[in-house]
Amino acid sequence: MKCLQSAISLSLVLGMILLGMAGCSKKAIQSGGDTQSSQPGAAKGSPSFPDTSLSGRDGSGGLRGLDKNPSEERVGSGTNTLMAKADPGSAGRQMDEIRAEQSASAAAGLRDVFFAYDSFLISDEGRQALSRNAEWMKANPAAQLKVEGHCDERGTSAYNLVLGEKRAKAARNYLVELGVAANRLAVVSYGKERPFCREHAESCYAQNRRGHVVLRTSK
């Protein structure tokens, strides 16, 4: 077992040296199949961050084994038990900005779009709501809108983020069809993470399957 572990750590070290050398050439790895290599520059805004590579682990998890005459072992000094306390930072500012957006959007009379279960198709009612929003945008040429995609609680958090984006984009695309410039329309998906209603019932789910149209008051 020990021997196997040494062999594994040796090959890990060798592997890391080799990979480190490959890394010096700074080129994206090209491979076949369903894959395409993108420009390394696409990771712009990926500044340096600490190395996440796993280096040498002996498999014992820091355990020292039982001992017939155990010596005193101090518990709690390892880094795994140290945990920083969260610093209540921007929470208040976020709340103020959300309130400002909500009241400005309500004052403008912007309308939301609602969707069927599992669907991102815009209904006739949705088209009417978006037509009104489009007219308002024409009358207010400096305004910038954001369409937030929301989902009901059914389904996974992750897939609902994708579905929420499809809903937001469907609403945006219809606004563009109606003549609103695409650069005045942002989309963001909140999936099922910011529900309007919290009951486990269809009446509530229907409210949460929504393209929420918001006037942007901050960047």
């Binding site: 994206a28 805004g45 990926s46 998890g61 005193e72 709690g76 969260a86 976020q94 996974t156 994708v162």
Partner: protein, 447 residues
């Protein structure tokens, strides 16, 4: 909770072998969670308070607190079966480290291991260090095979019990145990969702972020130092951030791409970050080389691809894709080649989590009754099991590092809370009890 198991072990073995030969992969570990694995009968003979019944340790119930944590850990290890010694007629009190008639009696009742200990507070001062001594008798060797002596502040009493439990698992399996593992998760504060970490048993909650908006879907780095997650920058765009647990320091790994940047997952060696991004149109999978920062696109199609989960070898990824209509689970090589569909039952299967043993992929399956439950499927697609049943939406399965348990979120009791379940569908336990919403659990690697 019901489990459908149709296990004919020789058939399973030959299927597993056939799959290994076919794919050339080494992601299946046959010894893991063997159906013939016999748990080791273990009895806890008490943790005594050193100072006796009038002492400070007795007043705060130190010994019994440690004993309770230890017993729960032993039971959850699934390596031992916890024997209640008094109920099998074994009366124990104040065991020492020398031979004791109780040992022979226990062995006759089929108890293989007896553990006991003592706990005290130094100087009789409630803020002073706590000590815990633990001893192990092994019936096979017919002797006290050893012990541990821990010291630490009163705040680490639970950790002492966890550490002793992990030593027991390590001695009998060579694996470090899960009693000191942690679970990262998302908890609602007002209308915001922030990252938290707790011990695997639901105690010692710690808040990690306080951004006031959405932080979603944390995943651990293999060395347990960091979490990667989706953070909403100014509420309008998503970044993939990393936070260091020990310091709270944060870095942005993926930003300014626009669109969705979700479901990050570090490879088992920590050298790659797989994630989904829609910055080139619809949600696609990418991998970022964490050393060179080179970004590689792994999927190219007009449908949504998301939720990558690494195989334990790091050679393959399971992921969700709606390229065939509703979301389904697919597999591919870690470079994006060799894509194949894994799930075919029903029209909604998502959120795959590849077991650290390699032998199962857990995921959320929508049943014909339109319920969102947990399912398990083998990577060759040959065997499928529905793990949970009943009301509520189950989501975000995540494996314990020993591959014997899963945590997940469920709205079975109304609000979303976090639950633990054995990989065989037994022992469903709720582990979060506070707050309006707890979700997206991620079980840490073993330390």
């Amino acid at each position: 909770m019901t489990v459908r198991t149709a296990m004919v072990s020789s058939l399973c073995l030959s299927l597993a072998l056939a799959w290994i030969i076919e794919s050339g992969a080494a992601d299946v570990f046959l010894e893991a969670t063997r159906p013939d694995f016999q748990k080791i009968p273990l009895g806890v003979a008490g943790i005594q308070n050193i100072g006796g019944s009038e002492s400070l340790e007795a007043q705060i119930g130190l010994g019994s607190r440690i004993e309770e944590v230890l017993k729960t850990d032993v039971r959850r290890s699934l390596v031992f079966s916890l024997v209640d010694l008094p109920s099998v007629g074994i009366k124990v009190s104040n065991l020492g480290t020398g031979p004791d008639p109780v040992f022979k009696q226990a062995a006759e009742h089929g108890v293989s291991v007896i553990v006991w200990g003592k706990a005290g507070i130094k100087n009789g001062d409630k803020d002073a260090d706590v000590t815990m001594d633990g001893y192990v008798y092994d019936a096979g060797n017919d002797e006290v095979v050893g012990g541990k002596r821990y010291v630490g502040s009163p705040s680490v009493v639970r950790l002492m019990a966890h550490r002793f439990a992990d030593e027991l698992v390590f001695r009998y399996t060579g694996e470090p145990g899960i009693a000191r593992t942690k679970i990262a998760y998302v908890s609602e504060l007002g209308s915001a969702r922030e990252l938290f970490v707790m011990d695997y048993d639901g105690y010692e909650l710690r808040q990690l972020t306080a951004d006031g908006f959405l932080n979603l879907m944390p995943r651990w780095s293999p060395d347990r130092r960091f979490l990667v997650f989706t953070a909403y920058r100014n509420r309008n765009t998503q970044d993939i951030d990393m936070i260091e647990l020990a310091t709270g320091k944060r870095w942005t790994l993926v930003s300014s791409l626009g669109g969705l940047n979700i479901t990050p997952a570090l490879s088992p060696d920590g050298n790659f970050l797989a994630f989904a991004s829609s910055h080139e149109g619809n949600s696609e999978l990418y991998r970022l080389d964490t050393r060179t920062k080179a970004l590689q696109r792994l999927t190219v199609n007009v449908s949504g691809d998301l939720s990558p989960s690494w195989s334990p070898s790091g050679r393959e990824l399971a992921f969700t894709s709606d390229r065939s209509g509703g979301p389904q689970i697919f597999l591919m090589s870690a470079d994006g080649s060799n894509v194949r569909r894994l799930t075919f039952e029903d029209d909604y299967n998502a959120a795959p989590a590849w077991s650290p043993r390699g032998n199962w992929i857990a995921y959320v399956c929508r049943t014909p009754k339109k319920e969102y439950k947990l399912c398990l499927i083998t990577p060759d697609g040959q065997k499928r099991v529905q793990l949970t049943s009943g009301p509520g939406v189950d989501d975000s399965p995540s494996w314990s590092p020993d591959g014997r348990h899963l945590v997940f979120s469920s709205t079975a009791e109304g609000k979303s809370q976090i639950y633990m379940i054995n990989a065989d569908g037994k022992d469903l336990e709720r582990i979060t009890f506070t707050g309006t919403h707890n979700s997206a659990p991620a079980w840490s690697p073993a330390s």
